[in-house]
Each structure stands twice: as structure tokens, then as C-alpha cells.
Amino acid sequence: MIEAEVKKKLGSFFLDASISDEHFICLTGKNGSGKTTLLNLIGGILTPDAGHITLNSKKITNLPIEQRQVSIITPDSCIPHLNVDRHLVWGAKNKGLSIEQDYITEIKTSLGISFNGKVRKLSLGMRERVALATSLISKPELILVDEALSNIDNHSDFVDAFRNLAAKAKIDAIFTTQYPEDSSQADHHYRLESGKTTRLF
């Protein structure tokens, strides 16, 4: 369950947003509406000027990124020099989690990761699959996906698979997209316009 009520001024842009939901949340809005800013505030990359962020009843407003249990994924997110198999378990190893090989295989199969090699040499869509799978395997409490689902083939099937895996692992997720139709696969839908959120369902 993520609860955020945040205010942030960046130059002439002012964000005044609130989210209070769980499971698979879709955040839509045009370019410059504040989607990335809101995710950066929840993920800890930015600090709000005012407000609070609570994740599963724990206040995380002022926690550093690495202590939030929130994984942030953008189209550039990856550890470029690792190969795919090492990449997948990198986050879990950081947290000292022991992960069953069967679980890794299940995630690889579900997310269509049938390739290997250095992550920096993969296509954008492949890199995004690996980044999302790595996040799932590291078992955070929340995954923030900033436009990192739109470059993947079989987009709709992939989102379904990702959603099911996140639900099974009891991980909430917020994903941003410019396409309102993507919200049909979400449990909740928020729209951002000029820095203001509206809950649609």
C-alpha cells in the first residue's frame, strides 16, 4: 500500500500530487505533466518540499533510496557491465536474499528472457525485461516503472505477466505511460495534468 501526498516546485513547474492505493497502479499523463517527478519523489531521487510518503504503513519520506525497498526502473536502468544471469540476482544478493533457481527460471520464462550476454549489448526492450526481472527477484515492496514498459514486444502480454508475478510476490507497482489505454491492465488509474493527480478508478 503506497500513500503519498507530496508537493514539489521545480523551476516554474509545481507538483501537488496524491496517491493512496495498492497492487498495480497506472499513472498516465502527457509529457511534462509530472509523472517522472512524482515517481522520483516516491523513489527517493527527489525530496518533497512538503508532504509525506508511506509504504505499507512505514514512513519513507526522508529515507535514502537504498533503504526504501522501492525499485526504480527507467528505460536506462541496468547494470551495464553484467551479463544477464548475474544481473538477475544482483539485487537479491545485495539484500542477502537466497533465491530458489526455480523462481528465477519462472521469472525468466514468464518475462521472455531466453537470451544471455552483456546487458549493455542488449536491445532496449531486452534490457528493460532484464531490469524488471531483476527488480522482481530482489523482492522490493514497490516497483516504480517509468515509461519502461513501452519498448517491449508483445507489450500487453508482457504487462500481464509482470503484473501476475508482482501480485504473486506481493509487490505493489506504479507504472507510467502516455497511453491511457494501458490503464485497462491496471487495478487503479491516476491521471496527472499540470502537476495535479486525479484518481479515475
Binding site: I45, E66, R68, D76, I79, H81, G91, A131, S135
Partner: protein, 253 residues
């Protein structure tokens, strides 16, 4: 008429004409056999070797500082790290000698355990490191600032500490930046005169016993023998420096 190109060419000429003139005179009309002597090549060898070691020390010791300054706004840290580059370098030499001065209790202690900077490799390399490290730090700071932060934010979100992120994410993707910054730092060290003329006018340790660093030797030649030998030795040294710059351009490609 492309005036910008013309003005740029003129300003570039202001910088390089004296250097090329020196190469021409050094190997041509003013050439003196002493400028190619064994002593000159030993001095260049000492300069290149000690500068390379000082660059390696900068990489090992100052890379974390450069990364820290790149990721955290810290005006005090930036100012302090730039001090050695912004004060007259003979002062650095004097400061290094004060550390091991027998007139101070700390200096006495260091001397008693065999640490001496005066006319030693330790003194020479310490001086070169102090004067060239700010260049390395600045170059690496700019390099780290140019890196894609998404990789590091992703790693932090996966639970990696800031130090782990530095070691496991930033460093493995910084090889080229470190090589380039260390070559710039090494070039700066090779051109140092002010501090080493005080700390290590020559080195009194094997295998370079009695050898002066090249900039100091060129100064000696100028004061003892006049312009000709100094110009010839300078021309040889410039060729080494140009080779370094060519290497740097290749690395930066």
C-alpha cells in the same frame, strides 16, 4: 572569410608557435650534443616514471573523492581539493619539507622511522601527486557527472549501499575516464618544476642516484651552460610530452 576560424587559428598559433620554434631550434640551429646526453635521457626516464607513479596514486587515492564531489554538492570539498593547484608550487615544496623538518616534533618522528622527503623518490612522488591530483580530481569529477545516473539510481533501488554502487556500478564503467584523467594528471606531473626543485632537486637513491627530474635538469643546463643545451634538452622533453598527448587523444576517442 570565416573570421571565427581565422581568430581561432591565430590564438592557437600564439600557443603552439613557441613550442614548435623550440623544437626547430633545439634539433636545428641551436642543437648541442649535451642536450641528447645520457644524463638527459635518465632525467626524462625519472620524470616519466615518477609521474606515472603519481598518476597511479591519484587513481587509487582520489577516485572516491572525485566521485563523492560529483554526487554531492560540497563547495568546501571542491575548494579544498583545488588548493594545491591554485597556490605557487614552490610553496607546496616548502610545505612538504616542513612535514619532515627536524625542527618540528612530527618531523623528528617521521625522520626517526625513516620517512624522509628530501631528495628521495618519496619526496618527488609526493610533490608530483599533490600538484597533479587536483587535475585528476577535476577531470574525474566531470566524468562522473557526465555518467547516466539511471544506472546508479537503479542499483540503489536494488538495495546497494552508496559505496557498493560506487564500486560495483560506477567504477566498472569508468575505465576510459580514469585512464584519460590519469594521463592528463601524468602530463601535468611531467611538467612540474616549482615544488620538485625544492623537494627533490635530484634523487639520492638508486637506481637514479644523482639524477635530476627533467624540468630541473633543463633549468640547470640553462643556468650552467646557457640557452643552447637547455633548448636541445627541452626539445627532447617536448617530444615525450607530445607522445603523451597523442596517447591521450587516442584514449579519448
Amino acid at each position: 572569410m570565416n573570421w571565427l576560424k581565422l581568430i581561432s587559428a591565430f590564438s592557437l598559433a600564439l600557443l603552439v608557435v613557441p613550442v614548435f620554434l623550440l623544437i626547430y631550434e633545439g634539433f636545428g640551429p641551436l642543437s648541442q650534443p649535451i642536450g641528447y646526453s645520457y644524463e638527459v635521457f635518465r632525467a626524462i626516464e625519472l620524470t616519466v616514471l615518477s609521474s606515472a607513479i603519481s598518476a597511479a596514486i591519484s587513481v587509487a587515492v582520489f577516485t572516491p573523492l572525485a566521485y563523492y564531489l560529483a554526487r554531492n554538492k560540497n563547495s568546501l570539498g571542491e575548494t579544498l581539493s583545488a588548493i594545491p593547484a591554485s597556490i605557487p608550487h614552490p610553496i607546496i615544496g616548502v610545505a612538504i619539507l616542513v612535514i619532515v623538518s627536524p625542527l618540528t616534533p612530527f618531523g623528528k618522528f617521521l625522520l626517526s622511522i625513516g620517512i624522509n622527503f628530501f631528495d628521495t623518490y618519496l619526496g618527488l612522488i609526493t610533490a608530483l601527486t599533490i600538484v597533479s591530483a587536483p587535475i585528476y580530481i577535476n577531470s574525474m569529477q566531470l566524468f562522473f557527472q557526465s555518467m547516466n545516473l539511471a544506472h546508479e539510481n537503479y542499483a540503489l533501488g536494488l538495495g546497494a549501499s552508496k559505496f557498493r554502487t560506487f564500486i560495483s556500478v560506477a567504477l566498472p564503467n569508468s575505465g576510459r575516464g580514469m585512464l584519460s584523467a590519469s594521463l592528463i594528471s601524468m602530463s601535468r606531473a611531467m611538467s612540474e618544476f616549482g615544488s620538485i626543485s625544492i623537494v627533490a632537486y635530484y634523487v639520492l637513491q638508486q637506481p637514479f642516484y644523482g639524477v635530476s627530474p627533467a624540468p630541473v635538469l633543463i633549468f640547470q643546463y640553462y643556468t650552467y651552460y646557457g640557452l643552447g643545451p637547455a633548448v636541445t634538452a627541452s626539445a627532447v622533453m617536448i617530444l615525450v610530452s607530445i607522445a603523451m598527448m597523442v596517447l591521450l587523444r587516442i584514449v579519448k576517442r
